[in-house]
Amino acid sequence: MPNTQPKSAYFIEERHDKPEAHTLSVLVDNEPGVLARIAGLFSGRGYNIDSLTVSETEHEKHLSRFTIVTTGTPMVIGQIKNQLERLVNVHRVVDLTVAGDPLERELALLKVAGKGEKRIEALRLAEIFRADVIDASTEHFVFELTGRTNKIEQFISIMRELGLLEVSRTGIAAIGRGAKGM
């Protein structure tokens, strides 16, 4: 889609580069406000956040790791990486998509209510998708499912017909392939 929005005072150029989805790993000092800094950078500069996951990963060093999935033209993706690196308490930013086909997983919890045939069908499908039952009554199940985003999307869309009440998802956690660390 051509970008018709003037980005700066003179920006009336139509960009024809295709937007791409990239997964970034961002290692930061786990200080108060660091999430606001990163979220604010994205909203302030008009970048997209498709998914954002964060948790402290190295407790002794107080380091947190963000996994951010974002969409933009190659020039914008480059900007996002540079802008993130510019934040004072960011240690490292790695574009996992550039490094090559990262491993990406999500966890979803689904509450499905129903009786009779639909209930049996839901359980049968959960087994096929390797979802675990983590809570149940005679009237509902809570399933736990991990996997790639498209697998989770598929499971959710099937469950919709079988009494899906609500979904909670973590967003993507990702890591690069191979023997090397980030």
Partner: protein, 590 residues
């Protein structure tokens, strides 16, 4: 070195240890312990402004004219929010400022306490970094880190928010030497391969141009010296952004004048037609590039910048060199000499012949009058009267700012303080106060407009209190001139709310504050009046009300949505051309 002291004592101690002599501020409930410590020492001098916004601009003027970090001290709530404009200004123009804000006691944070605001939340997007210090034992480290972050890499403003109970609490002080930042280590030296590539491109260039910016000034005086050496070595034409004026002397024969929206014809056409562009410490801002898809279409672009996010942000770069300007230029010159590189003399000669043709258009010319002072003429006479003095110039924002940039000539860096990125009206007077504090013996002039000056006029009171002889030179046309010019260009000359019907009598206003007022409305009297201003008492500010032609426009101009080669030149522009200058697409732009 470890010492026990209160948080408030630590603040003063840290300032002293950082070599800070001047702090611009305004007291209030949440900073009283720090003001109490200020009272009991004489290492750090406090300058009491009249509004916190003025404190930040004063610190900016101080920082820009000295190369040091400017320091601000304000209270919580409104003290902090009033500082926001100045902080944003400093962020846009990369000025190192440390702003210390008081905060309500930690147990009240989040309670909507009196004069509470979420200072770190509000200032997060308008600072390079900020801290809320909840533990007194972190305070000394954070303060020294704050100075380090403000001045290192691409400089910028930082905020340290200190709750009142932390100011009273006792903790351990550590000196600046014990503090090393664990993540923020900007790269100073450029990549040798990229530099070699740049030398290669430059030595084969047929139509080169150097495009320099505020980064050269921020890199320190050595960067300006190296820039001059590079020009001597290559004979390349050189232009600069608004922020970079003075890094290369205006008297130099290679100097093309400023580029961009109100830049010279020769500078903009050289940018458009060049085959190798060397951007040094500038950021391809929209005021510079004009229409991006028609910006310098045939050139290879080399970009030297300490901030990697400036590279490829607006314009695609062929040879990026990330590093500090002084380090990179030194290495570039060394590589140039080591390779015994030479320039393409024949091509360069015909390039200069082309540039001379552009220069012959005399794009800055204007029609002089006997009965009314033209604003351009006023700046020219001001320059003529002060060029042999030790002079520092600040400006407000608008037409007068552009005329000052076009007609005042700067030979040295750090002599020109203006709000470039944010375009903050009201910047000039407090910035002049900051510059005058740093250079008490020098002549400091705020070139102002009648509208802008009223945005921070209260700082006259500061100038009087500290006996600062700043000169406020107002080009008074009774309009917000640049707004009126755009209304003429874009909106059928409908002058909507840009005329000030009841301006104060600036001479009486100066008098009321305890300063000196001078008025001039005749070209024949101008030189004598300027002399009177320059020779006025050396312990009082002066307001010079220079009545100028009301409807003069600032030319040359690249209209919105147009490219460098589509400039409007002053003398030839007819009213019809002004009507047609900006197309439908250009009208949505600013």
């Amino acid at each position: 070195m470890t010492l026990k002291m209160s948080g408030a004592e630590m603040v003063i101690r840290a300032l002293a240890d950082q070599g800070i002599e001047h702090v611009f501020g305004y007291p209030g409930g949440a900073v009283l312990p720090i003001y109490d410590e200020l009272f009991q020492q004489d290492k750090v001098k406090h300058i009491l402004v009249r509004q916190e916004g003025g404190a930040v601009h004063a610190a900016e003027g101080y920082a820009r004219s000295t190369g040091k970090v400017g320091v601000v001290l304000v209270t919580s709530g409104p003290g902090a929010t009033n500082a926001v404009t100045g902080l944003t200004d400093a962020l846009m123009d990369s000025i190192p400022v440390v702003c210390i804000t008081g905060q309500v006691p930690t147990h009240l944070i989040g309670n909507d306490a009196f004069q509470e605001c979420d200072t770190v939340g509000i200032t997060r997007p308008c600072t390079k970094h900020n801290w809320l210090v909840r533990n007194v034992d972190d305070l000394a480290r954070v303060l020294h880190e704050a100075f380090y972050v403000a001045r290192t890499g691409r400089p910028g403003p930082v905020v340290v928010d200190i709750p009142k109970d932390v100011q009273f609490a006792t903790g351990t002080y550590t000196g600046p030497k014990d503090v090393r930042h664990k993540t923020y280590q900007p790269r100073l030296k450029g990549d040798a391969k990229a530099i070699a590539h740049a030398v290669d491109l430059m030595s084969h260039a047929k139509k080169p141009v150097l495009y320099t910016g505020g980064g050269v000034i921020n890199s320190g005086p050595k960067a300006s010296q190296l820039l001059r050496e590079l020009v001597r070595l290559t004979g390349f034409p050189i232009t600069s952004t608004l922020m970079g004026l003075g890094a290369f002397p205006a008297a130099g024969k290679e100097w093309l004048g400023m580029l961009g929206m109100h830049g010279t014809y020769e500078a903009n056409l050289a940018m458009h037609d060049c085959d190798v562009m060397v951007c040094i410490g500038a950021r391809f801002d929209d005021r510079i590039t004009g229409r991006i898809d028609a910006f310098s279409p045939r050139s290879k672009k080399i970009h030297i910048d300490i901030d990697p996010s400036s590279i490829n942000k607006n314009v695609k770069i062929d040879v990026p060199i990330i590093g500090d300007v002084a380090y990179v230029l030194e290495e570039l010159i060394r590589t140039w000499k080591a390779k015994a590189a030479t320039v393409d003399k024949t091509s360069l000669k015909s390039w200069w012949a082309q540039i001379d043709k552009w220069r012959a258009r005399k794009c800055l010319s204007y029609k002089a009058h006997d009965d009314v002072i033209m604003p351009q003429y006023a700046i020219q006479r001001l320059y003529a009267a002060t060029k042999d003095r030790d002079v520092y110039i600040t400006t407000e924002v608008g037409q007068h700012q552009m005329w000052a940039a076009q007609f005042f000539r700067f030979e040295e860096p750090n002599r020109w303080m203006t709000s470039g990125g944010l375009g903050t009206m009201g910047y000039g007077l407090p910035a002049a106060i900051g510059a005058q504090m740093a250079h008490p013996k020098s002549t400091v002039i705020d070139i102002a407009g009648d509208a802008s000056i009223l945005m921070n006029i209260q700082e006259m009171s500061t100038a009087v209190q500290y006996r600062l002889p700043v000169k406020v030179f107002i080009l008074n046309n009774q309009y917000m001139g640049m707004v009126r010019q755009w209304q003429q260009l874009l909106h059928g000359n409908r002058i909507s709310e840009s005329y000030t019907e009841s301006l104060p009598d600036f001479v009486k206003l100066a008098d009321a504050y305890g300063g000196i007022g001078i008025r001039c409305d005749k070209p024949a009297d101008l030189d004598a009046c300027i002399e009177e201003m320059l020779n006025a008492a050396n312990d009082k500010p002066v307001i010079f009300d220079c009545r100028v032609a009301a409807l003069a426009n600032c030319f040359p101009m690249i209209p919105s949505g147009k490219a460098h080669h589509e400039m409007l030149l002053g003398e030839d522009v007819t009213d019809e051309e002004i009507d047609k200058a900006i197309g439908k697409e250009g009208k949505v732009l600013v």
